[in-house]
């Protein structure tokens, strides 16, 4: 039964309902939803990357007319918005979905249909946001949408509305998912897995869900106020009507700074899983890692105004936000030192995930240090809104999040697909990405301090920016090549055999104790946990590698039924916002239809039979 080449496909097919479009549209399986999140987010990531490439071509030479200013402004707005909301967040969500239940020894998330709903809302929100391109009216006011440029007076087109409604839709998805994973982690851990035995990825994900729950309502409120300003004539941010555009900045960054940690804490979690496994040594300072993560998240709500030093808040506010920001460097430093302590004295196995994880540490250090540089307001007055900042946050979000997510992709790919990725292509991907990344973003530090502001569609020759910009564009093409290699790797290995064993890396956590890919019910028997590295402990007890596990038959295991009502409800949510956008054309009818569909979806969702025994579940749900 136990062989290294397993064909789970056969096992699934035996149940007769697991293939075809309909099975994906109605799935409530956290693993399939994870794959949907991952593939959708990766598509948007490539789209955002192409937008960046166009931006880099435009900036290759001074006074370039490759792009019009409108096109450039749309592209930089959509690049930022996409990478944050449609790429990095949902790529993290892919791992939340697929890995959290496996790592805590659960058979699914707490609310499987809510999980499907989150995905469908996310997909529709992402498509809605990008739909602006079809009408030549993609968002063009920056991902942070500062008022009062977003008022009807200064942005009469639908551009801002695509952005506003798109983000509101995406916010629904994020909040629903956050509730789901919060409850899952609190309630569904395997027997013996106390909070302080949770894998670090689960811990960091848990903290991320709390951040999402606290930060997203703020942006939702701000977006709704903006929507009322634009559609119903209110003046929350309109100075002529007594409103205050500065209020938007406070709203936005009270959400926006925690958002940075929403993007980067899951990355910290991934790195904290990869480093111990490939160093063959447990994570150094587990408790310190947990508390530093929590402390970073807590402080993250008290530093928002460091994005606003140039607004002139006065010395007291500047001092407070400056010192709070510097304070964040301490727990962040603790994390970096603990990661190095994990490697130190280990027996490092250089597989592709480890390359990316070490690349993450090296790059994230740079982003952290430049962050301390603009925690000092008098210095930040020069750095703010220049390419120095662009360099800084790309070292955090690309050198940090993307490197870590890529490490996670190579690490968990065998578990998710049942196939090993090619190591040589993986390492080629790493080197191209490391070089391309640094060639693109390191010169931005210099070009920024030497006077190049952000969000400018072109620059004059006499300011001297050309040479470094050309270098940056070259780097962007190397990055393009790096991700092409990744695509080739995925494509090539997907045609190969299902050759991934259950535990290819000598893993420490529960997901490696079950077949790759796992059966729909994940664990034939609910695992019992006795320590922080449960699988290592089992292997030690039994004196070495475990035999390839059997997937089991799933007999007697309760599995949620497939359901299309989450999809219907998601269409209702999107329809509601489309209705608001068309309110001046169709009157309230669009909104009414959207709400009706949403109500229909939720009503049927509530009254359908949610669970049945796997073996007896009927295809298609009810």
């Amino acid at each position: 039964m136990a062989t290294t080449v397993l064909d789970q496909h056969g096992v699934h097919a035996a149940h007769g309902e697991k293939t075809g479009l309909w099975s994906w549209l109605t799935t409530v399986d956290h693993k399939r939803i994870g794959i949907l999140y991952g593939s959708t987010a990766f598509f948007f990531f490539l789209l955002g990357g192409l937008e960046a490439l166009l931006i880099r071509i435009q900036l290759m030479k001074p006074d370039n007319n490759f792009l019009t200013p409108e096109a450039y402004n749309q592209l930089f707005t959509m690049h930022g918005t996409s990478m944050i909301f449609l790429a990095i967040m949902p790529l993290s969500a892919m791992f939340f979905n697929y890995m959290i239940p496996l790592m805590i020894g659960a058979r699914d998330v707490a609310f499987p249909r809510l999980n499907a709903f989150s995905y469908w809302v996310f997909l529709l929100g992402g498509l809605f946001l990008n739909a602006g391109f079809l009408f030549g009216a993609a968002p063009d006011q920056g991902w942070y949408g500062y008022a009062n440029l977003t008022s009807r007076q200064f942005s009469p087109g639908a551009n801002v509305d695509f952005w506003n409604m798109g983000l509101q839709i995406l916010g629904v998805a994020s909040l629903a998912a956050a509730v789901n994973f919060f409850v899952t982690i609190v309630n569904m851990r395997a027997k013996g897995m106390t909070m302080m035995r949770m894998p670090m990825f689960v811990w960091m994900s848990f903290i991320t869900q709390i951040l999402l729950l606290l930060a997203f309502p703020v942006i939702a409120v701000a977006l709704i106020l903006l929507m009322f300003d634009r559609f119903f004539g209110t003046n929350f941010f309109v100075p002529a009507g007594g409103g205050d555009p500065l209020l938007w900045q406070h709203f936005f960054w009270i959400f926006g700074h925690p958002e940075v940690y929403i993007l980067v804490l899951p990355a910290f979690g991934i790195i904290s899983e990869v480093l111990p496994v490939f160093s063959r040594k447990p994570l150094f300072g587990y408790a310190a890692m947990v508390f530093s993560g929590a402390f970073i998240a807590f402080l993250g709500f008290g530093v928002w105004s460091h994005h606003m030093f140039t607004t002139g808040m006065g010395p007291i506010a500047d001092t407070f936000f400056s010192l709070a920001t510097m304070l964040i460097a301490i727990p962040t430093g603790v994390k970096i030192f603990n990661w190095m302590g994990t490697i130190w004295g280990g027996s490092i196995q250089y597989k592709t995930p480890m390359y990316f994880a070490i690349g993450f540490i090296a790059m994230f250090i740079i982003g952290g240090l430049s962050g301390v540089m603009h925690a000092s307001p008098p210095a930040d007055l020069q750095q703010n809104d220049t390419y120095f900042i662009v360099a800084h946050f790309h070292y955090v979000l690309f050198g940090g999040s993307i490197f870590a997510l890529t490490a996670g992709a190579y690490y968990w790919w065998p578990k998710m697909s049942g196939r090993m990725l090619d190591e040589r292509l993986g390492k080629l991907h790493f080197w191209l990405m490391l070089i391309g990344f640094n060639v693109t973003f390191f010169p931005m530090h210099f070009v920024g301090l030497n006077g190049m502001p952000r969000r400018t569609w072109t620059y004059p020759a006499e300011l001297g920016f050309q040479a470094l910009n050309q270098l940056e564009t070259l780097g962007a093409f190397i990055l393009f090549l790096a991700f092409s290699v990744f695509l080739v790797n995925i494509f090539k290995t997907s045609r190969g055999p299902r050759n991934a064993p259950a535990d290819p890396w000598n893993g420490a956590t529960l997901e490696w104790s079950i077949p790759s890919p796992p059966p729909e019910w994940n664990f034939q028997q609910e695992p019992v946990v006795h320590g922080r590295d449960p699988l290592w402990e089992t292997k030690r007890e039994r004196g070495g590698r475990l035999p390839e596990p059997a997937p089991g038959t799933g007999a007697g295991i309760h599995i949620p039924n497939p359901s299309y009502w989450p999809l219907v409800s998601a269409i209702g949510v999107a329809g509601l916002f489309v209705g608001i956008m068309l309110v001046h054309k169709t009157g309230p009818w669009g909104i009414i239809v959207g709400v009706a569909v949403l109500f229909l979806g939720i009503f049927n969702w509530l009254f359908e039979k949610g669970y049945s025994e796997f073996r007896t579940s009927a295809p298609g749900g009810h």
């Binding site: 009062n148 555009p245 160093s279 140039t310 430093g333 130190w344 490092i348 250090i365 000092s376 008098p378």
Partner: protein, 383 residues
Amino acid sequence: MHARTAAARRLTGLVPFLVLLALVVAGCNPERYPQTALLPLSDYAKIGDHLQDLTFFWAVGVFVLVEGALLYAIFRFRGRPDDAEPPQIHGNTTIEIIWTLIPALILAAIAVPTVRGIFETNAHPSGDVLKIQVIGHQWWWEFRYPEYNVTTANELHVPVGKTVELLQESADVIHSFWPPRFAGKRDVFPARQTRMWFKADSAGLFPGQCAEFCGIQHARMAFQVRASNPAEFDGWVAHMKTLGPPKPAVAAPAADSIKTASAGATVQGPQAKPQVPQAKADSAAPASQDPEYAKGEQLFKMKGCIGCHSLQAVDAPKGMIGPNLATVGSRAYIAAGWLKNTDENLEHWIREPQTVKKGVLMPNLGVTVEESKALRAYLRAHQ
């Protein structure tokens, strides 16, 4: 032995990157960048620059140590799959406390001067201070000198050695005023005043630009700071004070014919002999004698230019949509610090503003080549 050669090979592999790094470092020499923030020319900018140097110093030190330790670890602790399991260390409280405290101490070393810098830069300048109003418009800058009752646009004149305080506001959306050689940026809001100050310590012409995204032509919302010696600055002020409003008596007749319009004495200001050292127009014949000038003057009204642009520096009206043109002829740049103020550029700009700076609030007014030459002549005379 084998490990050592492999390591050496890895190091030689680094050579191209070192070469690249050298090129990058060479490309970063701030002298090559007129808009650099790294060569401050005022007391205010030096406060920030000093703090930046301080944090940079610490950042480089931490970078070298931590990345060095990381590099050491990834070479030193390479393992093979069949190696014995390394010692399973879960942590070390003493070390963890040490590496929490050391960053805290470094941050304290940065925080103390930072707080001092915050209070210095936020202080109200006292003593002999020249107040200048900075008004951001989509996509140009208005500078008003209430003390002298004069106004100009896109070229901020400041005296060397005297503190200027900028009182900033926006006419439309949020902008950010950024003259990097003299100060960091300060955002400019509608219906909210922000301030900043600096004392220039060198004379010259230095670029700056808007640093807050403010719409389609945010990239082309630049300006120049002209810092001049006190005598020169006083001369400029004296000259500006002569650029008053046109005399009421010569309110233009309904301009049905350019030819019959009374050329010359309609606008007093521009024809006044500039008294300033940098003025170059002394040798020119009075502009009023130039038929192109007269034609341009008519066109300036007929084409509607006058609806958005004021030509008087003294008592300049507030709330104009376009920049004040009282001294446009002598400015180094046009189109908000974007184009060199050559005759060719000025004519092109007048003819096709939507080609030169797409989305700008000045529409293409159907100005012919001939007309643009006349308008150029007229505006050029506004020194």
